[in-house]
């Protein structure tokens, strides 16, 4: 096989993570060369989530509940969604530049290096400033948790960190799977935004707000409902607009594992379909 250069499976995963780490560290050093811009962008990133949340605060300045969910409950959805996509965006979000690299022919440079292309692409132009978003989300999450009227049984307490990890994994899978589209349509980078950033916006609001088809699509199609909607139903004791089996509320780890596996397969299919432009 052509992949003899790489270690065998378990070691190969570590090798991929190491490559990701080295590439990310290199870009961080490079970003620090333009210090003013780096500081401004980090502040900007902190502000972006603050502004998002101010919008929700303005909404709740005018109303008391949205689709049967109060301010603290919606803030919980907002914070968990924002944390998951923010962290996933920092870890692998750069992969959406794939189409540009294909067009410019620089993906070939990545392919000939003795390191996994996925790890290199995910850490390409790594931006530490993106940490701003999950940090903001953590602050909002703590505020929300302090105001929720929830009986904190051990299962509910465990589910909060659990859904943050699974949610991040689901968004990582969405970023990778979405970018694979660019192997076939190099200009289509924006389509994945509608699933990643559009999806993150959707699950900031209660599922009761949306048409049933959209909610069903988020459960059975693109697994966004497993990021926070379904686990939140259990944690917050809200009723399910679709009346799905309660077991789905605990299925986020399985959904995340499936999503990651599907994204991995899509990436392999994409790499196999890739034909260099030759430039």
């Amino acid at each position: 096989m052509a992949d003899d250069r790489f270690p065998a499976p378990p070691g190969r995963l570590w090798w991929g993570l190491r490559v990701w780490w080295m590439t990310a560290a290199m870009w961080t050093r490079s970003a620090l060369a333009y210090r003013t811009s780096f500081v401004l962008m980090t502040v900007g990133n902190l502000a972006i989530t603050a502004m998002d949340f101010v919008i929700i605060a303005v909404m709740f300045h005018n109303i008391h509940s949205m689709g049967g969910w109060d301010f603290h409950q919606v803030a919980f959805l907002y914070a968990t969604s924002s944390f998951a996509i923010g962290l996933a965006d920092m870890l692998v979000g750069s992969i959406d530049a794939l189409g540009n690299r294909i067009r410019q022919g620089t993906l070939d440079g990545i392919m000939v290096r003795p390191a996994p292309a996925l790890a290199q692409m995910a850490a390409d132009r790594f931006a530490l400033r993106r940490l701003g978003r999950p940090l903001q989300a953590t602050v909002i999450l703590l505020w929300s948790l302090s105001g929720l009227r929830v009986q904190w049984t051990w299962d509910r307490m465990l589910m909060v960190p659990g859904l943050l990890v699974c949610g991040t994994a689901i968004f990582v899978a969405l970023f990778v799977a979405g970018s694979c589209l660019q192997f076939w349509v190099a200009d289509a980078a924006e389509v994945q935004n509608s699933f990643t950033f559009g999806g993150a916006t959707m699950i900031q609001y209660p599922p009761t707000v949306f048409a049933r088809e959209l909610v069903a699509g988020a459960v059975f199609g693109i697994p966004l409902a497993f990021v926070n909607w379904l686990p939140a139903l259990h944690i917050l004791g809200q009723s399910d607009p679709l009346h799905l089996p309660a077991v789905l509320r605990f299925a986020s780890p399985a959904a995340a594992a499936l999503a990651l596996a599907a994204a991995g397969l899509a990436w392999r299919a994409g790499l196999r379909a890739y034909r260099s432009t030759g430039s």
């Binding site: 333009y34 003013t36 811009s37 780096f38 500081v39 401004l40 962008m41 502040v43 900007g44 990133n45 502000a47 972006i48 502004m51 998002d52 101010v54 919008i55 303005v58 909404m59 300045h61 005018n62 109303i63 008391h64 509940s65 949205m66 689709g67 349509v185 190099a186 200009d187 289509a188 980078a189 924006e190 389509v191 935004n193 509608s194 699933f195 559009g198 916006t201 959707m202 609001y205 707000v209 949306f210 048409a211 959209l214």
Partner: protein
């Protein structure tokens, strides 16, 4: 003949952006998806408070789809000529532009107007059609309202260009103006009324949002098409947009003068 020159620059830019069909469709698709998500949240809001911010539910949903149609042409989030311009500042090619017997700001304004025209007829129209197919929208039948709307959109693009030009000029000092640009994009999304009509903003925040230039980019064109602004209010709205366009263009010219006089161009 400067006018025919800038006209052909704008036409060239229009054609250039028309080449990337997949990108246009992808962008229109994304604008449509966001339109759907926001429409449902707005319907929930207006279900709880039927007359919020001076709109009824139909008006509010129409507001969403107008603002989704404007996001690409008006570049609320930033973009357009900025990528090219910033690259040229960073790699020194801007020196060649300064040698040209044309005015730098007018040249880039012409390219941006060409881009905006193409994106209005593509990324403006497609999401609007999709939105109208699913939701009940209130669009005017009167041709004069549409004419006023087009004038308002053109002024919105002018204000947006003048502002983005100032943002990108910081690259002469900072080399990498992406940081300022991302900050400007956030302020733009918030204060333009793109995320939520600024008529919903409470107290001082609302008063501030109404006088800042960003409301000229989304809120005013939306209100013109929704006929929230007619007669005298229409005139003051367009006047407000024209005022900010002129002020920001003049500021851009002044900063451009400083930039080209005082900054040594990067060169290899």
């Amino acid at each position: 003949m400067p006018l025919t020159l800038y006209g052909s620059v704008a036409r060239g830019s229009f054609r250039r952006y028309a080449t990337y069909r997949a990108a246009i469709l992808a962008g229109a698709f994304t604008n449509t998806v966001f339109g759907f998500i926001l429409s449902y949240t707005y319907l929930a809001l207006w279900h709880a408070r039927p007359d919020l911010g001076g709109y009824d539910a139909t008006g509010a949903v129409t507001y969403i789809w107008i603002s989704q149609a404007l996001i690409a042409p008006v570049c609320v989030w930033g973009g357009g000529f900025q990528d090219d311009f910033q690259d040229r500042v960073r790699n020194g090619d801007i020196a060649i532009d300064l040698y040209r017997p044309v005015d730098l700001q007018s040249w880039w304004l012409a390219t941006d107007l060409g881009r905006a025209a193409l994106q209005l007829v593509t990324r403006g129209v497609l999401p609007m059609v999709a939105g109208a197919a699913v939701f009940r929208l209130r669009l005017p039948h009167d041709g004069r309202v549409w004419a006023a709307f087009l004038v308002s959109v053109m002024l919105a693009v002018a204000v947006s260009f003048a502002f983005r030009y100032l943002v990108s000029l910081t690259g002469f000092w900072l080399m990498d103006s992406d940081g300022v640009r991302s900050l400007a994009g956030i302020l733009g999304m918030f204060f333009s009324g793109k995320l939520l009509p600024i008529t919903l903003f409470p107290g001082a925040l609302g008063a501030l949002a109404r006088v800042l230039p960003w409301s000229a980019m989304v809120q005013i064109p939306c209100d013109v098409l929704l006929q929230q602004r007619t007669g005298g209010a229409l005139a003051t709205g367009l006047g407000f947009q024209a005022f900010w366009a002129l002020v920001l263009l003049a500021a851009g010219r002044a900063v451009q003068g400083l930039a080209t006089r005082r900054v040594v161009v990067q060169g290899g």
